[in-house]
């Protein structure tokens, strides 16, 4: 799969178009992601209301604030890095509600090379 030119921008654009996301159905609150790129920080605010998702760019207060380097977040939204592991080692910094981050990280894809559905070349057919 071709790597998108700007994975982070692409991720939020896709998310904004989704409207409702069942994986966030039990989450309510806002997640602000501050993406650092050298001196420059870009902000995305994701509001979740029982699974209804809207994405904005205002730097407002949020129940859950994530600070992360651009290069790392690019890899996270491509599934090349795991958000929870990154949080545990302090590479992704979190302030506020961890539950929202746990809900939110379910939207990230799995690793591109780690998606073998564990079914080896199936020899056995369903017997009935």
């Amino acid at each position: 799969m071709k790597r998108p030119a700007d994975p982070t921008v692409q991720f939020f654009a896709d998310l904004g178009r989704r409207g409702h996301e069942p994986l966030l159905a039990k989450a309510t609150g806002s997640v602000r992601i501050d993406v650092r790129d050298g001196e420059h920080t870009e902000t995305w605010s994701v509001s979740v209301n029982d699974g209804d998702v809207s994405v904005g760019r205002r730097r407002s207060g949020a129940a859950c604030v994530v600070r992360v380097d651009r290069s790392l977040f690019d890899r996270i939204v491509l599934g090349e890095e795991n958000a929870i592991a990154a949080m545990l080692r302090g590479a992704l910094q979190l302030e506020g509600n961890l539950g929202l981050l746990v809900a939110f990280q379910r939207l990230f894809p799995g690793p591109p090379k780690g998606r073998s559905k564990g079914r080896p070349a199936g020899f056995a057919q369903r017997r009935s």
Partner: protein, 702 residues
């Protein structure tokens, strides 16, 4: 404690020390202060005038608090001590220790009191596997404060040691210059706080950075409240009362509030090394505790639902809909040297998740939660067909995709040799163990009930019921070992029966997948001499190639296993047999002072007269702690039926009467009464016991 170590804990923070309260750990030595799967103190040694202290006694006040009585000198002969020392220590987001020194002399004395402190910041996995650290250490000395710090790239953990009494602080500890009057007394409050780096603000709800620690009185009140809100047990057999109380207190200690539960608790797997979320252990323990503390089940369901898998990730063995196996927070997990962020390699937790949700509704009537978790339950049901049928043969099987650090055996008997043929051969992968098919069957049947009743989806209900019936039909054909009349332990990759006789047959009864016509034969085996030791059902039958009475999953008796077997026996109407299992296990509990170990030896009861303990690192273990609770349920025959609780007791005669008062549920609170009537032979008793050896038989008394 039996290993000479003293353990206290609160949630996933715990201290393991020697009987004097000192900690002197090496990389592989399991003492220290631990929190969030990291060691925060590896050295904590108290000396007076350069001398170590000698423990006179240890008081385990509560599971979170201990008091050590000490005198200077480590000699074996006790000389009239001129000084005595009390260390009172309580765990709470680190620990708090009050050191008090008494001068028993007529003269004033000057003392140098010293606490040496150090930390290796080992990950729990490093302690288990004795691995080396990759980051760097720094130490900072402040006024009355010592800060130990470890960093590796962005990873940071620190320990802050502070004192209320003025101290001379250096990089290796704190020194107090104490001048004690005749018969005087001196004390200092020492506080050890753990700092988890950048994510502490979000996680340590009760942690230092976030606000005040919980006070000791509030922890005591919490324990009192927990005990008072559980059903009350009245019974003429004192041992059972003691076991029941022990179970409740231990279950309180095992409660664990991970950061995302909003302060609610679920059962962790074991104390102290498994104070973490484990899908399987939390579910089994919640099932056992349902009639006593149903709130554990709802927190377990909500929490596991939040972490439910959503993607394919080979490193974590994650699939969409899969329920996690284990979640850890340490350095090796953070740097992906271990896959526990979380790790999903477990084939039973996902169907059992649906089983717990349904059983929870049957007890509590809480349909709101069932509605709330509809998405998760459907995803779990979908996982069974879509991701767990690795061979396309309609059976759940497992094979790890993380071949380096993933788990090879993803059923509860997770040791390398647990699944074998009668001749001892091991099957290949994927492995379809029999109990997994039972759980999948039960999940479909129960899922159908919830779909019809709560989700209002009769089409799904019909489909699940059809699939369940079909699975049962095929299972009873493919797994049934014709010549000896029991279910094979597993199917091998070529479809052949892995034919050892094992306790898993009891779980099949519990799941309901057993054909009625075959139940009698299965029960004959479970209570027969090859499987039943007199104390309980062995994990593997004697005469099997790999049988070993002290082999982890190949011959020992697991109390938790037996509690579900007893439930299975009740399900198929074998009340007396269920009572015999309860009698054996509860007798064993008496030998362990009410605290059942994870497993004990599978020797015949007539041979050893007492249950031989299997050495394990964790005690109490959650599902062993839950075992007496489930056995109370099976002995009393408690079963929700609509809005009512049916009571249908079958007690061993050793119990004259048994009352369980204020059982919570959809009926409000009700009481259950039972009288002993199932006769189990009693002879050669070491102490008053319920069940006894060999030729035990059942006989109706009235």
């Amino acid at each position: 404690m039996s290993d000479g170590l003293v353990k206290i804990l609160d949630g996933n923070t715990f201290v393991v020390s020697d009987e004097g309260g000192d900690i002197e750990a090496s990389i592989s030595d399991p003492t220290g202060l631990f929190s969030f799967d990291t060691r925060f103190l590896s050295k904590w040694v108290l000396t007076v005038n350069g001398e170590r202290l000698n423990p006179l006694s240890v008081d385990d006040l509560e599971y979170f608090e201990t008091r050590f009585f000490l005198v200077p000198g480590t000699g074996t002969v006790y000389v009239d001590a001129k000084l005595s020392v009390i260390r009172q220590r309580a765990v709470d987001a680190g620990f708090h220790e009050r050191v008090t020194i008494f001068n028993h002399q007529e003269d004033q004395v000057d003392l140098t009191v010293r606490v040496d402190a150090d930390c290796d910041f080992a990950d729990l996995f490093e302690v288990k596997d004795a691995l080396r650290k990759k980051g760097s250490y720094t130490t900072r000395v402040e006024r009355n404060r010592l800060i130990l710090r470890y960093t590796r790239e962005t990873f940071e953990r620190a320990t802050v040691i502070s004192s209320t009494a003025p101290a001379r602080v250096d990089e290796e500890g704190l020194t107090f210059d104490v001048s004690l009057e005749a018969h005087g007394e001196w004390s200092a409050e020492l506080d050890v706080s753990v700092v988890l780096g950048a994510w502490q603000r979000a996680t340590a709800r009760r942690g230092r950075a976030n606000g005040p620690k919980r006070s000791q009185p509030s922890m005591e009140r919490d324990l009192e409240h927990w005990l008072a809100s559980a059903p009350q047990l009245e019974c003429d057999w004192d041992s059972l009362k003691a076991t029941y109380r022990r179970s409740l207190v231990d279950l309180a200690a095992l409660r664990f509030s991970p950061p995302i539960t909003g302060g609610r608790s679920l059962p962790a797997a074991g104390l102290p090394w498994f104070m973490a979320i484990f899908g399987r252990d939390s579910i089994f323990t919640s099932l056992q505790a349902l009639p006593f503390a149903p709130e554990l089940a709802s927190t377990t369901l909500l929490t596991l639902g939040k972490w439910q898998g959503t993607r394919l990730d080979d490193f974590r063995d994650e699939d969409p809909g899969r329920i996690l196996h284990e979640l850890r927070y340490g350095e090796m997990t953070a740097f992906e040297e271990r896959p526990h962020s979380p790790y999903y390699g477990c084939a039973d937790a996902t169907p059992l998740y649906v089983v717990l949700l349904d059983e929870y509704e049957r007890w509590t009537g809480d349909r709101k939660l069932v509605r709330e978790l509809e998405y998760e339950a459907r995803a779990a049901l979908n996982w069974i067909d879509e991701y767990a049928d690795l061979q396309g043969n309609g059976y759940v099987s497992y094979q790890r995709r993380n071949e380096k650090t993933g788990l090879e055996n993803q059923c509860w008997k997770d040791s390398w040799d647990s699944i074998s043929y009668r001749d001892g051969r091991l099957p290949g992968f994927p492995r379809a163990t029999c109990e997994l098919q039972g759980y999948a069957y039960d999940a479909k049947v129960r899922g159908a009930r919830l779909a019809r009743l709560v989700w209002k989806d009769p089409a799904l209900a019909d489909r699940l019921e059809r699939e369940a019936a079909e699975l049962k039909r095929r299972f009873n054909r493919d797994f049934w070992v014709e010549d000896d009349e029991y279910y094979a332990l597993a199917l091998d990759t070529d479809g052949s029966q892995v034919d050892a006789l094992a306790s898993n047959n009891g779980h099949l009864l519990w799941s309901g997948i057993v054909d009625k016509s075959k139940a009698k034969a299965v029960v004959r085996h479970l209570l027969g001499p090859r499987l039943f030791s007199g104390w309980g059902v062995r994990t593997l039958a004697i005469e099997e190639g790999r049988f070993n009475p002290i082999g982890y999953h190949v011959g020992t008796v697991w109390p938790f296993d037996n509690s579900f077997i007893a439930w299975g026996l009740r399900r198929y109407g074998f009340k007396d047999e269920a009572a015999r299992i309860a009698a054996g296990i509860l007798d064993a509990a008496d030998f362990f002072e009410g605290r059942l170990p994870e497993a004990f030896g599978g020797y015949s009861r007539t041979l050893t007269k007492y249950p031989v303990q299997y050495p394990t690192a964790c005690s109490p273990q959650a599902w062993s702690t839950g075992t007496p609770l489930l056995l109370l349920r099976t002995m009393l025959g408690l079963e929700p039926h609509g809005e009512h609780l049916v009571v249908d007791p079958a007690l061993p005669v050793g119990i004259g009467h048994l009352e369980l008062l204020d059982i919570p549920g959809r009926w409000g609170k009700v009481d259950a009464f039972g009288r002993g009537r199932v006769h189990v032979e009693r002879s050669e008793r070491l102490r008053p016991q319920l069940g006894a050896p060999a030729r035990a038989r059942s006989r109706r008394k009235r």
